[in-house]
């Protein structure tokens, strides 16, 4: 059994169902990419994993989230709270949402070690410095005494990751951790996170809208579209032989080296709003291959080779 196994996760907010029937699994030493456009439900899924849905008046309507053999959905919320930060950590897109602007970054990393690992002030500080080193933060002892506003965006994100690691978690959920950063810094942070997964045996759920990040960092991929899984499989298969027209279109949105001008088309239309999700295949209105079947029923998630695909007309089934 994998460290985290989610089955049939359905999230409700009021009378809406923004996420429906999502399965995913990630084990130690593995990076799972959760990819989709805005409105696909990827951040809500992350919040469910963290047990944070009550904050936005959301709830898990059905399905299970089994972490290390324990189903978190049928346990009291305080169990989830005890796991959060210690065994499951979150890295958000904007480091300033995780950092207190009026306390030194060092004190904030120290606090995690003291809270979750019961260390005294002295050993907490030593541990913070070691983590900052691991994050390749230069002059760690000087940075330890600085405030968030004195650091660059990339440095702040490194601090947030160090904070996430201070509880010595088994699972890290990273929600678009590099989106707000400069290009060269993005590459460094993604590389750093992948190294952490390999070196520490972490399990990482990496949420992104960028298929380039997926290709470079992930082992397996879950492609979400309008709250449902469109396709899931090993990263090599997803890129070499995407079966869902949406997956293929999403990959095609990134210009490749030497691509001729005028050949980038994107995906026509836009993700439907959750207030008017169609009953049929949710991608059908934007899909070039859609048939009458696609606008009358919702496809099931079926296995094709190493992947699972929710499409009536999957690409390359016989290939």
């Amino acid at each position: 059994m994998a460290l985290l196994e989610v089955e049939g996760l359905t999230i409700g907010i009021g009378r809406f169902t923004p996420v429906e029937g999502v399965d995913l699994a990630v084990d130690r030493g593995e990076v799972l990419g959760l990819v989709g456009e805005s409105g696909s439900g990827k951040s809500l899924t992350a919040m469910a994993l963290m047990g944070l849905l009550p904050l936005i008046r959301g709830e898990v309507r059905s399905g299970s989230i089994v972490f290390d053999g324990v189903d978190l959905t049928d346990r009291p919320p305080d169990l989830h709270r005890r796991l959060r930060g210690r065994r499951i950590a979150l890295v958000t897109q904007n480091p300033m949402t995780s950092l207190d602007p009026i306390r030194t970054v060092g004190a904030q990393i120290d606090e995690v070690s003291r809270l979750h690992r019961g260390l005294d002030a002295r050993s907490a500080r030593a541990r913070s410095l070691a983590l900052m080193d691991e994050m390749r933060i230069p002059r760690a002892s000087a940075v330890h005494g600085q405030y968030p506003h004195q650091l660059s965006g990339g440095m702040k994100q490194r601090i947030v990751i160090a904070m996430a690691l201070a509880g010595d978690p088994d699972l890290v959920v990273a929600d678009e951790p590099t989106t707000a950063l400069d290009v060269t810094v993005q590459a460094q942070i993604v590389r750093l996170m992948v190294d952490l997964v390999r070196d520490r045996g972490l399990a990482l759920v990496l949420i992104t809208h960028d298929m380039g990040v997926v290709a470079q960092a992930c082992d397996r991929v879950v492609v979400l579209y309008a709250g449902r899984i469109a396709e899931t499989g090993p990263v090599e298969t997803i890129f070499a032989a995407p079966h869902h027209p949406y997956t293929r279109a999403l990959i095609g949105c990134i210009p490749t080296e030497g691509q001729r001008r005028g050949t980038l088309i994107g995906i026509p239309g836009q993700v439907p709003s959750l207030v008017d999700y169609p009953d049929h295949c949710r991608f059908a209105p934007r899909c070039a291959a859609a048939s009458a079947t696609c606008t009358s029923a919702a496809p099931a998630l079926d296995a094709i080779g190493a992947s699972r695909v929710a499409c009536f007309h999957p690409l390359g089934r016989d290939a």
Partner: protein, 326 residues
């Protein structure tokens, strides 16, 4: 298509100062440092760089929204800083800007049609109600929106639709130069590709010149004819074509940082921890030297100048020379 520059930067410097209040020491930030640049008519010139490289300042200088601290910006041969207000307003009709967030400059209570027609009002162009409605409908259709959306309010629009409105508004006065300042940076990739395709189509149809500002070198290489690479206020390289051999180590680093959407080509990303230094305290030599893997003593002392070749680079040890030597 000619190489006649529609826009020229001549040794343009732009400083911003901060502090100098009651307590602070006055500090000067050189956002744009001695930039010489020609933007040829009918082409797409890309400006690429990371935060603080001066690309947005360059965009604002290009439109005369801010004045250079030294040097000149010439639009169709006329010095923007030397124009009267009336003349400047007439010139502005021919040069327009598309912003990353178009609604940062549009009243959110205005219907789409009013936002698109505002430039006519600013320019004092009188037209009948029917003419105005027809112009709005044409512009909406041109950017792929339904003319019925003229009555919509912006909060009913998606990010991609808002950017289409931003483009329609910029095109209302039939400009010859359009400065695109990160027009797709806050959009989903699928919508980004739509907008780029739209811009490509419009350029061909309307014979536009684009100055395309972006941090995404992959996108710039796809979309642009020439690429200007900036680092901390200076132009470090001008690629004469998108597939030209890269000469500057910084351009190389930008290239290597792009996430290639191919899992069989995993990049061995450099472990460099370096980040952009502050534009307040520029090092005396090459601004990139503190991060450059090839930097030698000379790079830390002497500021390299853009060489006058067909593929200009500001580097003491350009990659092609280094390659030839080894």
């Amino acid at each position: 298509m000619s190489d006649r520059p529609i826009l020229r930067f001549e040794s343009v410097v732009r400083d911003f100062s901060s502090g100098g209040g009651w307590f602070g020491e006055r500090r000067v930030l050189r956002a744009v440092n001695a930039v010489d640049l020609k933007v040829p008519a009918g082409r797409v010139t890309g400006v690429v760089g990371e935060s603080g490289c001066g690309k947005s300042t360059l965009a604002r200088l290009a439109l005369g929204l801010i004045r250079p601290s030294a040097g000149r910006v010439l639009f169709e041969g006329e010095d923007l800083a030397a124009q009267s207000r009336g003349r400047m307003r007439r010139l502005r009709a021919r040069m327009q800007m598309v912003f990353q967030d178009p609604y940062s400059s549009i009243d959110p209570r205005w219907a789409v049609g009013d936002a698109i027609a505002e430039p006519f009002q600013v320019q004092g162009i009188r037209m009948s109600r029917a003419e105005r409605a027809a112009r709005i409908a044409d512009l909406l259709a041109m950017v792929g929106l339904d003319p019925s959306q003229a009555a919509s309010l912006p909060h009913h629009l998606s990010g991609g639709q808002k950017q289409r409105v931003g483009i329609a508004r910029a095109l209302a006065l039939e400009p010859s130069l359009v400065v695109l300042d990160e027009p797709t940076a806050s959009l989903d990739v699928s919508i980004q590709a739509q907008i780029i395709a739209l811009l490509e189509g419009l350029k061909a149809r309307l014979d536009l010149t684009y100055l395309f500002i972006s941090h995404d070198l992959g996108l710039v290489r796809y979309f642009c004819d020439r690429i200007v690479v900036m680092y901390l206020g200076s132009v470090v390289e001008i690629l004469p074509s998108p597939d030209a051999e890269i000469r500057h180590p910084y351009t190389r680093a930008l290239m290597d940082s792009a996430f290639v959407p191919d899992p069989t080509r995993r990049q061995r990303l450099t472990r460099a921890t370096g980040e952009i230094s502050s534009a307040f305290d520029l090092p005396p030599g090459c601004a990139y030297a503190p991060r450059c893997p090839h930097a030698v003593q000379r790079c830390r002392i002497e500021r390299p100048r853009l060489d006058p070749s067909t593929h200009p680079v500001a580097c003491h040890l350009p990659l092609d020379r280094a390659g030839a030597r080894s």
